[in-house]
Point group: D2
Chain length 422, copies 4
């Protein structure tokens, strides 16, 4: 265990990853997957952890550059691409978003329509892949490969031996595809659907890659390393929501309670998790537990979430007043100044703080003026921006002149006159 005080001090994340690696490397529980023969060749001693923050900085420990195949980790990304192609409503008609409480290869199809329960089980992933726009398997897979490369920030390639191995043994997935084909839930030929699906599963990545991919999801769909927007922000939220409820198969609910990070694991030993607006993390260790999740990766991810309080539902309250008001005085306009992150509560406090100004205006003749000073805010949440827009509209109607100091255009009040922060 690292005891270098300088690293502890300045590189606490990297040190934490190293400690997790040292803690769980000796844990030799689990078995390397062997239902796909090629996967059985993986080295059970490999263990890598990679973390990429939403500002693009990377931390790592261990075997983060060992190649393995994505397998099910590909599912949220391909679903994202299909969502971007068709929109949520059209996709929900074809693939549900309900956790099934069942294993990854469960049949879990709607008894009437054959619609798979969600895109994180194999059945739903096969349909999702078939819905990616493109003429034929080749073009469709190339779009998938390109998009996933965008998430990873580098050109991903197929592991041909694993692909061939899956094609030779994937009878259950063929069964699911034929079942769905027979009900109309799968619209393209089975061979084509299966080929695309097995190819996406056989894309070769490293722990570093899936950390970047997770960071891209955490960063609203924009790759924080390359700066490329890979999917629209709206799609990104939908994908994270589905990962939150369905990402860990039949232990998704317990995972969200205990760990609280949207995540997706793959049978080759990879595990990708993310903390929205904070970072993505990629873990790799081949031995799997009975549910098909990497033993070491799961343990490390749990500890990391607990040690750093990363739970999705952990939202510490903010009680610092972020609002200050200068009352109008003679010719000086009223100034409403905010700082930090302006969310719902901040915006409502800001609006409430204007009560005495409103009273003052009522008693004094105009013209009235209000300066909204957002120069020092870190961010303005959309709910707050909407509230400020309502304020602006009301002031305009009342004949009050509003000027906004918002050099970084946080509040998106572009049509308003800009002025210097006082």
């Amino acid at each position: 265990m690292s005891t270098d005080p300088r690293r502890q001090m300045f590189e606490p994340i990297e040190v934490a990853l190293e400690e997790l690696r040292e803690r769980y490397l000796p844990d030799d529980r689990g078995e390397v997957a062997d239902d796909i023969p090629e996967l059985a060749k993986a080295d059970p001693g490999h263990f890598g952890l990679s973390l990429v923050s939403v500002d693009g900085h990377r931390y790592r420990a261990g075997d983060t550059d060992v190649a393995f195949t994505m397998q099910s980790i590909s599912k949220p990304f391909v679903y994202a691409l299909a969502l971007a192609d068709h929109g949520l409503e059209a996709m929900l008609d074809r693939v549900g978003a309900e956790p099934s409480g069942e294993a990854y290869n469960a049949i879990s199809l709607d008894p009437d329509t054959g619609r798979p329960d969600n895109p994180m089980i194999n059945a739903g992933a096969i349909v999702s892949a078939s819905l990616v726009a493109g003429a034929g398997a080749e073009e469709r897979f190339e779009r998938i490969r390109t998009t996933l490369s965008g998430f990873a920030g580098r050109d991903l390639a197929l592991d041909d031996r694993v692909y061939r191995s899956e094609m030779a043994t994937g009878d259950r997935n063929r069964a699911l595809a034929y079942l769905m084909r027979s009900t109309g839930a799968l619209g393209c030929p089975v061979d084509e659907a299966i080929e695309v699906y097995f190819r996406q599963c056989a894309l070769s990545v490293t722990a570093d890659d899936i950390a970047t991919m997770g960071a891209t999801l955490a960063n609203n769909g924009e790759n924080p390393v390359t700066g490329q927007r890979v999917i629209p922000e709206e799609v990104d939220e939908q994908v994270m929501a589905v990962m939150a409820t369905c990402g860990m198969y039949d232990s998704s609910g317990e995972w969200l309670v205990r760990v609280g990070l949207p995540a997706k694991s793959g049978v080759a030993g990879g595990l990708m998790a993310l903390s929205p607006a904070q970072f993505g993390i990629g873990l790799y260790s081949p031995p799997l537990d009975a549910k098909g999740n990497s033993v070491r990766a799961v343990e490390a991810c749990r500890d990391l979430s607990a040690d750093f309080s990363l739970h999705l539902l952990h939202r510490p309250a903010r009680d610092t007043p972020v609002v200050s008001l200068r009352m109008p005085d003679n010719d000086e306009p009223a100034v409403l100044c905010l700082r930090g992150d302006v969310d719902f509560v901040g915006a409502e406090q800001a609006l409430r703080s204007l009560d005495p100004v409103e009273a003052h205006w009522a008693e004094h003749p105009g013209p009235h003026e209000l300066v909204l000073d957002l120069a020092r805010v870190s961010s303005v949440e959309p709910v707050a921006a909407a509230m400020f827009e309502a304020l602006a509209a009301g002031l305009a109607e009342s004949g009050v002149r509003l000027s906004v100091a918002d050099p970084r255009r946080r509040a998106l009040l572009a049509e308003l006159p800009e002025r210097e922060a006082p």
Copy 2:
């Protein structure tokens, strides 16, 4: 529809609630529940919306003071109480946390142990209630009533007629209880378990009450109106996580994707939702859709989430530099100044920004000193506090003097010498 510019401007939330009420009041789809005869007497025209922010401010529209019974809305709160009594691990042994993809009254018990899938279906709620500490039904219910009153901020009372009506017609719940009793999943006598459960369901509330209850969950378990801590913060997160995956029964997954607010509905027409660290909302309208959720409440909640971008996974990126550094100069110490909300990215940027300071110290003889100025931060997330603690420990070991300006003790570095912000 309200067109008063003053209200639009200064009371956008209340106006939004009123608009939602006007938009959906004419929607006369759905049927008032009639399986419990007493519920059938509800007025289908009632529609109330109440919102309470985590700073305790309330907004409302319509029939927010009409009394109705909690029914299933009681489930997360009673589960919270049982969690507080036993801890997560012990509770997971008795009640799972997996969405079942099934209706509220589904059997959904583990085939081997009889353990119910989750505490939001009736079976899991009955077991949860039976696990609340207390000698006998009377004492157990009194603890439940007291705790739920704490969430609501006022003394809640039983609607005795509804309670008797449920007792007379609740055969399916008795069946679930006997099933679980036969496998050992339910440890107390069926009559006792059912009595407590039907009582909690028959607690009388208003839309205002359930808004406060939701706001208490959103505020980490502390009632923002009364200031009372009702449940521990840790329990609060666990409850919100279970609501996120299981709160809306067999449409929980789709609800999280579309609406993105942890929520719970009741068959009397209530719907409670919340946005963590922002607010709780209570809606009431008796006509139910086929899944047993209030038609108008669901529609209004969807729109509210969409209009105000409240989705749980919607986390806009913050790119404002929140860190500024003054290099050490002669006798002057280095000063690291942060503002706004300091999260993981903020803390890691802060630590990285110290690289030139470290280089400077390496070239200049000591003593060295660093001032960490947190006077203007709005909040410090636990992950960031942990990183600062690692920094402090490292500096101490290296002989660097650290002083922290943290007047509101955000970083919890209590043992460090305090000094004025420079």
Copy 3:
């Protein structure tokens, strides 16, 4: 093993039963039921076999007079009573006749109506008992007790200790009853239904008793020992048909293939089986296999069926000509003489054999006469009787005089002139 040649010779059935007892008494697999505490007191060494033929003769070996409770063996008999009260169509509306492929205590209710799959699982048995005509539990049970006593040929009594033990532990059955009550599948109060059901299960019998009960079923519903008609013939066939497909729970199909005898087992260790029109058999040995069937009873029943070729679908062909014809000659009428059992094939052969007579009549002036000689037939199957009635009607219309020698009125051609067998 018995080697007395006289007994082997004249009492082969009794010897066979004794041999089966000796063969399987040492088999100490299985466990005495303990979910009902009182049952756990049974002596695992008891083993009795009793066989009653449809002419009322009894054969026995071992502990055939040890008392035990009927448990599920009561189900077909109570179902028979309810069928007699309501008829098949009305009963099928309330209790299905489909094997469920599930265990005896499975829920197996129709998802829409709550109708239990069949009357041999607990759910279906509870509904069947509730449908027995009678005002209240007391009267209903008394009718059940009386009818089952009719099957057994002696007055059956309740084992009060077992009844109380079941009442104290029967939570799963209460659960089933409440479930069905909640859907309307069960029409009477749960307490009443459960009381009647547990009482019928606690009726005390011996292996001798259940052998007589099985023989009564095998004898078309008429007790071959007492001569009492207990249920109508039609009901009897329906009950045997349901036993054939559903009697052995989730191994009913395999039982019918392997053993081929309609059967019903009880958790106290009893097993009743029957060979239609031949005999009933009662076995008793408390240790049960994993499916709840008596280990020794199942083995002995299999061997008995195999050794004596008793399989329901084993119907050896009969190729002996059973028809002889004397052509009309001068004043002598044509005589059609049959012997043995006249079934479909016999009747059709008889009719076909009349072709030359018909040709002869066509060529010779009448009056024509036919004598149908049934004096030596053992039985006339209904299908054959119907064919003879068609013959009689046709002859009458054609002016042919028919006389029947049928001293035992087998062909039920009562309206025809009787004459001496020629």
Copy 4:
């Protein structure tokens, strides 16, 4: 409706078939199957009924020579062939014999082993076909075709257009095969299994053919028209037993209660039923009910069973004394004479009737002699033959001379001295 008294009289079966045809031809409920496009071309007005007795006589009405494909009617025959190849135990390891209570195309596989529930659902039929001995699809199908031709008594041919149509649309069956392949339940390649299965389904038959096939099953596996033994007697019983519990899919139980004839229907409109030891019947009418059974065929089969009392469990009692005894007198031996069908009851009565003979022998010196006169019996059931063999062995050991008059060797006491019937 036929009113010709001559036909009513001498041809009641043919008349009954004609009446059933007239009764149900106007019933235009149901839809011709269209999931296999080629089947949709069938003429909905076709309706044929054919009955073949176990002595090989045929009766018919309507369109009994219209060709249609066997579809699921092939299942019991292919299962019979696989049973003949492997024996019951080996087959039960691969395909269960439990009714599943589910539709014909249900998945119904054992959750652990993937073993299909029974051979009458598609999954079980596909495995059964794959187990027919033979190297490759071609040889395996040729054995199937030859055996089914043996059942039908003529060379059956493939309907190539239907076969191609099924191959083009049979995705659900491919799904089932891949599912079973993935668990090891299916041992041969999917394409091969599916090809054989679709071919057997596409064998072209007429109502006359399936009547003969049913009659062969009813006649213990020997074709009553051609005299060819097609399958062993033991296999024949096993197949009829499985048809009795599983033949009509999810209404098998109700069918056995109501109609009481082992039966199998096919989606092309065919229905085969049989009365063991009596006859087979083939019906054809394309319009199907919601469960996939021919509407007219089901109705006609129900009426036929009711009108002619053909229910499998309908076994009228035989009370005619079939035994007569002549006491030993001076030099004359004792003579035990039986007639009619000797079953269990007959044999036990015969043995009991010897009690006074035994007493007489005990009082009189030997040599003793017994003549067993079976010359006039129609049949001796195996159970009775076994009892006579025990008698013979006992007599031999006691020094009594036994001679048997059994010209047709019914009792199989071949080693005993034969003598003339007295």
